[in-house]
Amino acid sequence: VLKESKRAVNSILVDDDDEDEEDVERVSWSGEPVGSISWSVKETASSIRSGSEQSFPKIDTTPSLSKQGSGYSLSSLFKGNLHDLSPEETVRRMQKGRAFSLEKFRSLQDKLLLLDEAVAVYDGNVITAVLIFLKKSLSKEILFRELMARDVALRHYVHYLKEMGEQKLLVELLKALGRTEDMALMHYKEHLNIKDESRRRDFLKSCLSLPFSQDDATHVQDHYTLLERQIIIEASDKKAVAEIFKKFPRKASILNMPIITTLYYSCFYHYGESEGTFSSPSNIRKTFRISEKQYILTALGARAKLKSWFDVDSLFNTKNWLGYTKKRSPIGFHRVVDILHKNSAPVQVLQEYVNLIDNPDLKLGGALKYKCHDIVINTYRDLKDRQQLIVYREKLERDSPEYRKIQELLNNVQIRWKN
């Protein structure tokens, strides 16, 4: 089987070209022929490769030309005819990793023919190789101009510059193309590489004048403002001595956290501060235009975590014109109950909020899940569901108040049960 596999291997990558055995093949553009499976197997078979292939160039003053020069042109020293190849032929050789020469493509027209040919064969590797050649042999103004009409080549070029980290040139290119938004984003992206927060803040500030879309301009402004505030808050909280910081030591710094995390942090450590301070929830809410729903959700999470049920209550309290307080919430009360439960709220607290759930099914579900007996019992009573009451009674402790309540209901002859 190994023989078979060798035979198989042998055929791979052997092209139907008739020039396989040429010398050119040995001195490929990379100057290093070792590598293709077919070559390797052939070599082991005949084992005639001289040691010279393996000799590593010493760092000295007499470079071996075949090794050290640019593969693009030096191979042509051996094979003059590479100069006469058409763009098609040249691209074909490049695709196959053969020796080639780009030197003869000197007129703009020839260069572009070469590029268009590379694009036509859909080989990204070759397209990029030609672009590198054009980058070196054309002024950037001319190259940019020609790329404008060649989308595929352009995208390869942009990607190449990105990978090479040629930020400056990239920005110039995008500017020349009129893709100002892309340019702005590209520039903004740089902030990710800046670790020091003050430098990052200053960088973000410098981004404010970039030509972002209207929306993104707002977001970038927010980003700058956020980091600026975070730096201030961090500096003062790092050495804060207030009770809350001792009771719940901070686990991480607030720097570079999202807006909502910052709001949560502020609801946790700085609740009740006046709007004038940067660290107060109300200031953050206002500065970053946080919706009521989002605010309530975040504040609820933070206050419930601290088991400040009083604060939780006041989040939902609204007074009507008669002075009655009523609970209102922009998020469903079943969600509120979920969050309270996750923070292990006591049954009395849970019960109050389960009662506020609008949807009767969700309400009953919540009551059952969190063992709010009164609500369950009242719901079944209102549904006149005797059977369910009996079933529920069995789950309760004998002679508990709930148990007795069900007992009384079941004995009440005035109720007209449906079952």
Binding site: K67, I132, I259
Partner: protein, 608 residues
């Protein structure tokens, strides 16, 4: 279990040959640098390398120490350094820096870079520019394909998706073509090539059919091949997976055919790495099953195991001896696997109920069905507000955008703003990328175009309007999901009961709610042996479809041989386990399909 036997399945080619080929070539390349050497390996090549070779083999060929490429200064005292890397500019720059630092320090070493699966001109230019060309020799290790399982081959090229679809760089398309080329050389030519998508069409199809007879050693037929670009179907990879293997991937990430189960699964204090393939008898029976069936199956299995163990009671010495030598080892092995998979399902249950998985699924299904979109948007908004899974939020947003042909401007702005508030403003870069990909877009031209069309329509005749409409719609880059879904019946009528134990079609991989578009296309085309009758569908998918008969022995062999019943499906840009399961299901109903993927793309890597 829905399936236990594959009676009709033709035998698949022996793909382990590919591993042997790759290993032999690697050994050859290492021998090109005789003497002791240290080997630096790209992090993402470690697992693939492990599948075909081991340290002993490397040591046998004078590899002294092994290092992971970390793009940091190195500590190596070896006189020869060998780098086994992907052709990435950044890595080559790092190597150039090392060489230059050695030069400055007056240190002489030999350096060799082995690029896999191929080298790129751009990388070699870096060597030239950094003045180390010639100091460093380069080679290619043509390790194109890694067989991950009996019926899964992988190119293990995670960057394919991003480079090709986001950056528009076509370099990997050639690589994919070379992979097919390799398969044909070893296993015989394809009798027919079908496909849809830009990459599939322009490059690979041509290359695949361009084989001459002498290049194909085996006078056999490898069946047909179906090429599909990932961007033909973005919907499927955006849906939460509910078949077992898919869920394992979503939760634990399957990498290179293996998964690492944490302490919560192993119920011990250490993690275990497990290979997931058909060798694992327990896994192979549940991998394609809907999650809801898995638990019952596993507990039945556990009972059987208990019974088998219990046989020991009342055995005499002789019987016991036979039991120990024949059965016990197998039972223990099964025992171990069983407890792992039970552990995994338990932890799935926990995580998936905690995250309100049911609600998430319900929203996805509504989006697929185009039902109660407002409620879906509210749900997504809350999902974002609660700062739960960033990726899930993004998946939902993309699904909404694709199924609805983009978001209304005010929704787009508000959801984007909330997303940035919850997960960080830097993600405005993510949104820019997604827009470029067409995954998350703001409807804008949409309405304007329709108005324009109707205005123009009054002025000119129908034929011109048709042309204009085409032009407009290609401009708007619509996904047309609704129309496609209707035409191909991807979403079964709601309200019908769907028995997940006895799947009736491929929709079972999404709880009966949706048939993967990609798989449906494959089914339809193979049924018709071409695209005839699907013209409307391909128009909605922006054309680029094709079906070509291969050079050799095609039409005369009507009665298909076993090999011809094999279909190789190649996803350019990755595929999901749900799609693999769906194709396995299809394979059982018809012939066998054999799935190949480039990358698992369950979580589309889009961020920044």
């Amino acid at each position: 279990m829905a399936h236990t036997e594959w009676r009709d399945a033709p035998e698949l080619p022996d793909f382990s040959l590919l591993k042997r080929l790759a290993r032999d070539q690697l050994i050859f390349l290492l021998e090109q640098l005789p003497g002791k050497k240290d080997l630096f390996i790209d992090a993402d090549l470690m697992s693939p390398l492990d599948r075909i070779a081991n340290v002993t083999i490397l040591k046998q060929h004078e590899v002294d120490k092994l290092y992971k490429v970390e793009l940091k200064p190195i500590v190596s005292s070896s006189d020869q350094l060998c780098f086994l890397i992907r052709p990435r500019i950044q890595t080559v720059k790092w190597i150039s820096d090392l060489v230059n630092a050695d030069k400055v320090a007056g240190r002489f070493r030999r350096y060799k870079i082995i690029f896999t699966p191929q080298k790129f001109y751009a990388c070699e230019t870096v060597l030239e520019e950094q003045g180390v060309y010639g100091d460093v020799t380069t080679d290619e290790w043509n390790f194109y394909i890694l067989p991950l399982d009996d019926d899964i081959l992988s190119l293990e090229l995670p960057e394919f998706f991003r480079d090709n679809f986001l950056e528009g760089d076509q370099r990997w398309v050639t690589t994919a073509g070379s992979a097919l080329h390799l398969l044909q050389s070893v296993y015989g030519s394809f009798s027919k090539v079908y496909g849809i998508g830009r990459c599939a069409k322009v490059r690979i199809c041509d290359k695949t059919l361009n084989l001459t007879d002498e290049q194909i050693l085996v006078d056999e037929n490898m069946g047909s091949v179906f090429l599909v670009d990932r961007d033909v179907d973005f919907v499927t990879p955006l849906c939460s997976q509910v078949v077992y293997e898919g869920l394992v991937d979503d939760l634990f990430r399957i990498k290179c055919g293996s998964v690492e189960f944490g302490p919560d699964v192993t119920s011990s204090d250490k993690s275990i790495k497990v290979m997931l393939n058909s060798q694992d008898k327990v896994f192979s029976e549940i991998r394609n099953e809907h999650f809801s069936n898995v638990f019952g199956f596993l507990s039945q299995k556990a009972k059987n195991l208990q019974t088998a163990y219990d046989k020991r009671r009342g055995m005499d010495i002789q019987q016991m001896k036979a039991f120990v030598s024949d059965e016990l080892k197998g039972l223990k092995q099964e025992h171990r696997l069983l407890s792992l998979h039970i552990g995994a399902s338990e932890s799935m249950m926990k995580k998936k109920t905690k995250q309100d998985f049911q609600e998430l699924l319900k929203t996805e299904h509504s989006l697929l069905e185009g039902f109660e979109i407002r409620e879906c948007i509210t749900y997504i908004e809350e999902h974002i507000n609660r700062q739960v899974s960033m990726i899930d939020s993004l998946r939902l947003l993309c699904l909404l955008s694709i199924t609805e042909n983009g978001l209304l401007s005010k929704d787009y702005r508000s959801l984007k703003a909330q997303y940035l508030q919850s997960y960080g403003i830097k993600h405005l870069l993510t949104f820019a990328n997604l827009r470029q990909l067409g995954l998350l877009e703001e409807q804008q031209a949409g309405e304007t175009l329709t108005v324009m069309e109707s205005k123009v329509g009054k002025l000119v005749n129908d034929k011109t309007v048709g042309k204009l409409t085409d032009a407009f719609s290609s401009l708007a880059k619509k996904s047309n999901f609704r129309a496609l879904s209707k035409r191909l019946a991807l979403v079964p009528k709601s309200g019908e009961e769907y028995d997940l134990r006895v799947p009736r079609d491929m929709a079972y991989v999404f709880s009966g709610a949706y048939i993967p578009l990609s798989c449906k296309l494959i089914e339809q085309v193979l049924e018709r042996d071409g695209w005839t009758g699907l013209e409307e569908v391909t128009r909605m998918l922006n054309g680029q479809e094709f079906a070509v008969t291969g050079g050799s022995s095609s039409s005369e062999a009507r009665n298909k041989t076993d090999a011809q019943r094999i279909v190789l499906v190649m996803f350019l840009g990755g595929c999901t386990f749900s799609e693999i399961s769906a194709l396995r299901f299809l394979g059982k109903e018809r012939d066998t399909y054999y799935v190949k993927q480039i990358e698992y793309m369950v979580n589309i890597k889009l961020s920044i």
